[in-house]
């Protein structure tokens, strides 16, 4: 007969050993905790449809591919440093204070490892000091203001896509290349930071590139004005030979409908610096011969590459429409984070800290769906790319938009050199620009 009293401790020891073994086995088999990333873009309001949702969609498909390890080389390793990514999507709509609160929530409450996002320059300007204060790795994908890094050096904030100065300088270079004898031009831009800055840079670049061309009309209707009859009359009765506009989405489309009804595009070429995001909706309503930009070499302006073909395919397969520039910019930002994370992880041979990833992020260069990007400005925190502009044409046979007569401008031709303020660079005659 076995003494129960003596047996029980032994059973307990065995059970404890078995339990400990199973726990340690489970621990060994359990996958590492996922890396949490907050994705912020407009999911409601007027900016959702043209920018926010395409940006979100770009993040979704790229992160899915990274987690599955199905992205093309060199991005064909799982997630970030072999660990899968878990995302939390946050709406950028609301006041600046609300945007900052949501950012704090992501970092402090949700304990995300990085935040990727932001479309509005106002959001980026407000979030930047908070990101630095919280030491939170933050990657911007769309906001255009150059002021983010020009005001003071940053440690935790990065922006792989180029800032807005490139868009305006590229537009001026294209216009001068195609209309060498231009002697007067006008601007129609929304009356807020984006419109004002875009026009300032474009007019400044034109002053350098075509000193004889005079500014004719400077029109700044309010954001979402919707009715542009008086502006169109003013332009029709002007002597302008070209029109620059950084209008986007609803304002851009309303203007296109109204100007076409009155034939403004038959009087002068119109440069739409963000036109690429609207061509798939406007199709044959976008006038032929419009000059189209896409905030960089994005969409139909992107250089041919296997990565671009892959990105186009998975986007169209999922969403039924081609990706526009916010999708490309988001892909560039997410892939930039992967390059930096993988680099930091490889150096440490383990999960890197935020500081280690931030350090690894500085000055990286890689190829995204829109071509080569190098974080060459602002101590390696701000990316530069080549840019491209082209002329719009609706192909009546295929019933698809086309951008033809594309001219590419090297990154060093349309971006200021490292350490030079964008405004000062343009006013100083764009010294050091390398266009050949």
């Amino acid at each position: 007969m076995i003494n129960r009293i003596s047996v029980l401790p032994r059973v307990g020891v065995l059970a404890a050993a078995a339990l400990a073994g199973s726990v340690s086995l489970a621990a060994a088999q359990q996958p590492a905790a996922p890396i949490k990333i907050g994705i912020v873009s407009f999911l409601s309001g007027p900016a959702a449809s043209p920018f926010g949702v395409p940006g979100r969609n770009g993040a979704e498909i790229v992160i899915e591919a990274l987690n599955a390890g199905t992205a093309p080389a060199p991005f064909n390793t799982v997630g970030l440093g072999g660990t899968k990514i878990e995302t939390k999507y946050v709406d950028e709509a609301g006041s600046t204070a609300q945007v900052v609160t949501e950012f704090r929530n992501l970092v402090q409450r949700d304990q995300v490892d990085a935040v990727v996002g932001y479309i509005s320059s106002g959001s980026c300007l407000a979030v930047t000091p908070v990101a630095e204060e919280l030491k939170a790795l933050t990657v911007y994908f769309d906001c255009g203001t150059p002021r983010i890094f020009e005001e003071t050096a940053r440690k935790y904030v990065f922006r792989p896509p180029p800032h807005a100065t490139m868009d305006s300088v590229g537009a001026a270079r294209y216009l001068v290349a195609k209309h060498k004898d231009i002697n007067g031009f006008s601007g129609l831009n929304q009356n807020y930071a984006w419109g004002q800055d875009s026009w300032r840079d474009f007019a400044g670049a034109m002053k350098v590139l075509a000193p004889k061309a005079a500014v004719d009309k400077e029109l700044f209707p309010k954001l979402f004005a919707g009715e542009y009859g008086a502006e169109i009359s003013t332009l029709l009765t002007s002597k302008s030979q070209a029109l620059h506009t950084s209008f986007w989405d609803g304002d851009l489309e309303s203007f296109v409908y109204q100007e076409q009804a009155r034939g403004l595009d038959r009087r002068m070429p119109i440069i739409y610096t963000t036109g690429e995001a609207s061509i798939w909706r406007l199709k044959d309503k976008m006038p032929d011969k419009s000059i189209i930009g896409g905030r960089g070499p994005n969409g139909p302006l992107a250089p041919k590459s296997a990565l671009n073909d892959w990105f186009q395919k998975i986007y169209i397969d999922r969403y039924g429409t081609p990706p526009t520039y916010p999708s490309y910019q988001m892909a560039l930002a997410v892939l930039g984070l992967k390059v930096a994370w993988d680099k930091a992880q490889k150096a440490k041979n383990g999960k890197p800290t935020t500081d280690e990833v931030a350090k690894a992020f500085e000055g990286i260069e890689y190829d995204g769906p829109s071509g080569h990007v190098k974080l060459a400005l602002s101590n390696g925190h701000q990316g530069i790319q080549e840019t491209a502009y082209g002329t719009y044409r609706f192909n009546k046979q295929t019933k698809q938009p086309e951008v033809v007569d594309v001219v590419r401008f090297p990154a060093a031709c349309v971006n200021p050199p490292n350490g030079v303020n964008a405004d000062d660079w343009i006013k100083g005659g764009m010294q050091g620009a390398k266009c050949n």
């Binding site: 409601s44 919707g226 003013t234 609803g250 409908y257 309503k285």
Partner: protein, 298 residues
């Protein structure tokens, strides 16, 4: 000379747009003393309804006139249903409460209706440009005018004329005038004020939807279009006098012409001029241009 002509035509077109979006707002305020923020939703629903109608007629290859009529009819039917549901379902429970509470109720409904629009039509923008393209244009010197814009001025003039006639020469118009002047006295004389309220709110909603419908071919119909409209409409009706249809007309003309002149001559003050006109009028006429002196009640 051409600039002066352009200012006149642009001013009239902008005034027509302002009047069409403001007339329903001022009518509802005049009768019900409600500053109806939901008016922006009526405009947006009208625009989305028109975009839907244009989609139907463009695909069915109907004649342009039939398409335009369908656009107007569908938008106004939406306005009728929406106005009736809101007044009977929500607003009537707020009558008698503080004016600020009622404004907040209409603001809450406005926010909810923005989400309803997103649920029905999604977050994509819609183009309904076909009627404007079909209307063509005319050239006067260097200036090209859209025939659709000229039609817009005619529609605004028609609405103003019909409104004036209905108020001054019909039985319901006289009843409305009595309720506008003094609701309690009107009720004491046996006027069914509740019915007048319902009918007025529905007409106001239909006018708001009409404004959205006729503007739809000119704009990208997208989320948030009602927000901008309500701010502009408010500036116009305050300038003209809250509750006055003549005030809305004159306010629209003043604001429209001043803005057009600013865009042509001093574009830097384009936005400023709308609110400067409003402020200037209110300095000398604190209740707007066309509000009659109110007897003090004891």
């Amino acid at each position: 000379m051409l600039t002066a002509f352009a200012i006149l035509t642009d001013g009239l077109v902008y005034a027509a747009y302002l009047f069409l979006v403001a007339v329903g707002l001022t009518l509802i305020f005049g009768v019900m003393k409600i500053l109806n923020v939901t008016h922006g939703s009526f405009y947006a629903f009208g625009a989305y309804g028109a975009a839907t109608a244009v989609g139907i007629y463009a695909n069915a290859d109907w004649p342009d006139a039939a398409g335009f009529l369908l656009m107007i009819a569908l938008a106004m039917a939406i306005g009728l249903m929406l106005g009736l549901v809101l007044e009977r379902g929500i607003l009537r429970f707020a009558y008698g409460r503080d004016e600020v509470v009622v404004v907040l109720v209409t603001y809450a409904v406005f926010l909810m209706l923005e989400d309803v629009i997103a649920l029905i039509w999604g977050r994509e923008s819609y183009g309904a440009y076909q009627p404007m393209v079909a209307a063509g244009n005319i050239e006067i010197g260097d200036l090209v005018l859209s025939n659709y814009d000229i039609g817009l001025v005619a529609i605004a003039a028609l609405v103003a004329g019909l409104g004036y006639w209905a108020l001054k020469h019909t039985r319901y118009g006289r009843l409305l005038t009595v309720v506008i002047f003094d609701r309690e006295t009107a009720a004491a004389f046996g006027i069914n004020v509740k019915v007048v309220y319902t009918v007025t709110f529905v007409i106001g909603a239909m006018l708001g939807a009409l404004g959205g419908a006729v503007m739809a071919p000119k704009i990208s119909v997208t989320l948030g279009i009602g927000v901008e409209v309500i701010v502009l409409a408010f500036a116009v009706v305050v300038t003209g006098g809250l509750g006055s249809i003549e005030g809305a007309l004159i306010g629209s003309l003043i604001v429209g012409l001043c803005r057009a002149a600013a865009v042509h001559l001093v574009p830097q003050i384009e936005l400023f001029v709308i609110y400067a006109v409003m402020a200037l009028v209110l300095v000398f006429r604190p209740y707007g241009l066309f509000t009659q002196a109110q007897p003090r009640k004891i």
